[in-house]
Amino acid sequence: MARDLTCIICPRGCHLHIDDNLNVTGNFCPRGAAYAKQEVLDPRRTLTTTVRCKSQLLEVCPVKTNAAMPKDKLFEAMKAVNEVTLTPPVHIGDIVIKDLCGTGVDLVATRDIEK
């Protein structure tokens, strides 16, 4: 169970160590400890990608999951993402897919596209 990890919470990228009792060392801030525990128990990632959205200036609209989702469902999520087409106007935070692949997290738009 004990592992060395690189924290991905912020650009600092602390080198973490987590032991069998889930004690974390090497973290600069408490978020690193939380990350290490999460990473060994239930690794999650935020998905950022695009969905089809034909506008005057862009062919796609950027989106993200509004929380980290299970890492092993990223590719499944991409399949669902690639089925969606948005029609402008789109606003930051608009829900594009609710409860993405049953993960409980939503896919939301990250850009305003007016027309």
């Binding site: 690189t6 924290c7 912020c10 650009p11 990608t49 062919e59 796609v60 950027p62 993200k64 990250t110």
Partner: protein, 422 residues
């Protein structure tokens, strides 16, 4: 000739931050000139997250981050022109631009903030051996095709350089169905952020070949394969270490270069970063009233630092316009990148203008552990800071109290000193 108080060249994060800061210090006649169809610059294509942790205290994607700044610009009614290309700048602050609506115009600016960003080092600049087929493309260009136009540039991809854009694109293209076969890095260490090595490469089992380079490009019309080789300590490929990868795409993530031609051609002094030589207020050392900030000055790793620098430049431009920034001929400190240091920004500290603290930004030449960063005034160590680890891919920011710097002028040297030697 029309006169404007403040002309800002580039409507990306640095330019918008400068505009907002200048406005908030009381400047109203501001014009931002942006060459593309959007404000926000390169953040428009950076759809990944990780932006804004310092500035907004939350993690945003590039478009989310830029949208907040666009709103600040619009709320203040700051004028901007899109699709507008600045073709020349002079040291006496004339700005010539063209666009479809206004035609070709030269403005007399009272102050200029240069915030034109950077461009990617490409295959031409490093002369990768072999042929020059289609399929060798910078990571940022592939990112633009994918994130704004919706096209993938290839199915089987290799990446040269472990810069962050390359790592981000490794993940991005993998998620979109491409196969990324590996990343080669010339240096014995990665140039990207640790977290990007983890979440972009290790997460997807993409190998990182340190101390390797692409030693041959194969393919006449379209890329067919590349060959990578291990390099020796002088970065020369070692014969016999070649590995071949059959790929249709080679992404290059081999560095960014300040897009500083306009000032360079105007005769504004430049530093070793290829950006302008500036003082502590981001003002050019030989062109009063011309300020620089963001990646056109030196390449930053975090947009949060870019907007902070933009704000410094914007506020300084406002002070210049309001007459509170002294055009002093008085004593100055010239900064020197000493042992182990790649560059230091600013190039000069004008002691008459320096505030309570002076901020120095620098990068080390190579990763080191347990070293002191020393700051020496005319050879005398003023301050030293122990760094458990320090790497080139992270820009260091240090603040020195003004009162340490004396009144005489001379040199201020930043160096690395191994801990053992003390």
């Amino acid at each position: 000739m029309e006169t404007r108080d403040l002309v800002i060249i580039g409507g990306g994060s640095a330019g918008m931050a400068a505009a907002v800061a200048a406005y908030d210090k009381g400047i109203r006649d501001i014009l931002i000139l942006e060459r593309t169809e959007f404000l926000g610059g390169i953040l428009n294509q950076c759809i990944h997250n990780g932006f804004g942790l310092t500035h907004f205290k939350e993690e945003l994607t590039g478009p989310e981050f830029l949208t907040r700044f666009v709103k600040q610009v619009q709320e203040r009614g700051i004028e901007y022109k899109l699709h507008t290309n600045v073709v020349a700048v002079t040291k006496d602050k004339k700005v010539s631009y063209v666009n479809a609506k206004d035609g070709a115009i030269t403005l007399q600016a009272k102050a200029i903030v240069m915030a034109a960003g950077c461009y990617e080092r490409n295959a031409g600049a490093i002369g990768i051996p072999g042929e020059r087929p289609a399929g060798v493309i910078t990571a940022g260009q592939a990112q633009l095709y994918l994130n704004e136009y919706g096209y993938l540039v290839g199915k089987k991809v290799f990446i040269l350089g472990s810069g962050d854009i390359g790592l981000i694109m490794a993940r991005r293209m993998t998620l979109e169905g491409a196969k990324v076969l590996g990343v080669a890095e010339l240096m014995p260490y990665s140039n990207g952020l640790n977290r990007n090595i983890q979440q972009c490469l290790i997460d997807f089992n993409i190998p990182l070949y340190l101390s390797h380079t692409v030693s041959k490009i194969i393919g006449k019309g379209k890329l067919e394969a590349i060959e990578i080789s291990q390099v020796d300590e002088k970065f020369r490929p070692i014969p016999g270490t070649e590995k071949r990868f059959d790929v249709d795409t080679l992404l290059l993530s081999i560095g960014l270069i300040p897009n500083n031609d306009l000032l360079d051609k105007a005769g504004v002094a430049k530093s070793s970063t290829r950006g302008a030589s500036v003082d502590e207020h981001m003002q050019s050392i030989n062109a009063p009233g011309i300020f620089s900030c963001g990646n056109v000055l030196h390449v930053h790793d975090l947009v949060d630092y870019v907007v902070a620098e933009g704000a410094v430049a914007g506020e300084a431009a406002a002070s210049y316009l309001q007459g509170t920034l002294k055009e002093s001929e008085g004593p100055c400190l010239e900064t020197v990148a000493g042992e182990g240091i790649g560059y230091v920004v600013p190039s000069r500290i004008n002691l008459a203008n320096a505030g309570e603290n002076v901020e120095l930004k620098f990068r080390v030449r190579k990763p080191s552990k347990n070293v002191y960063v020393t700051y020496s005034l005319n050879g005398q160590v003023l301050k030293k800071t122990l760094k458990p680890a320090i790497i080139p891919s992270e820009m260091e920011i240090a603040r020195l109290p003004r009162n340490l710097l004396g009144e005489e002028g001379g040199t201020l040297t930043v160096s690395l000193l191994a801990k053992e030697e003390n």
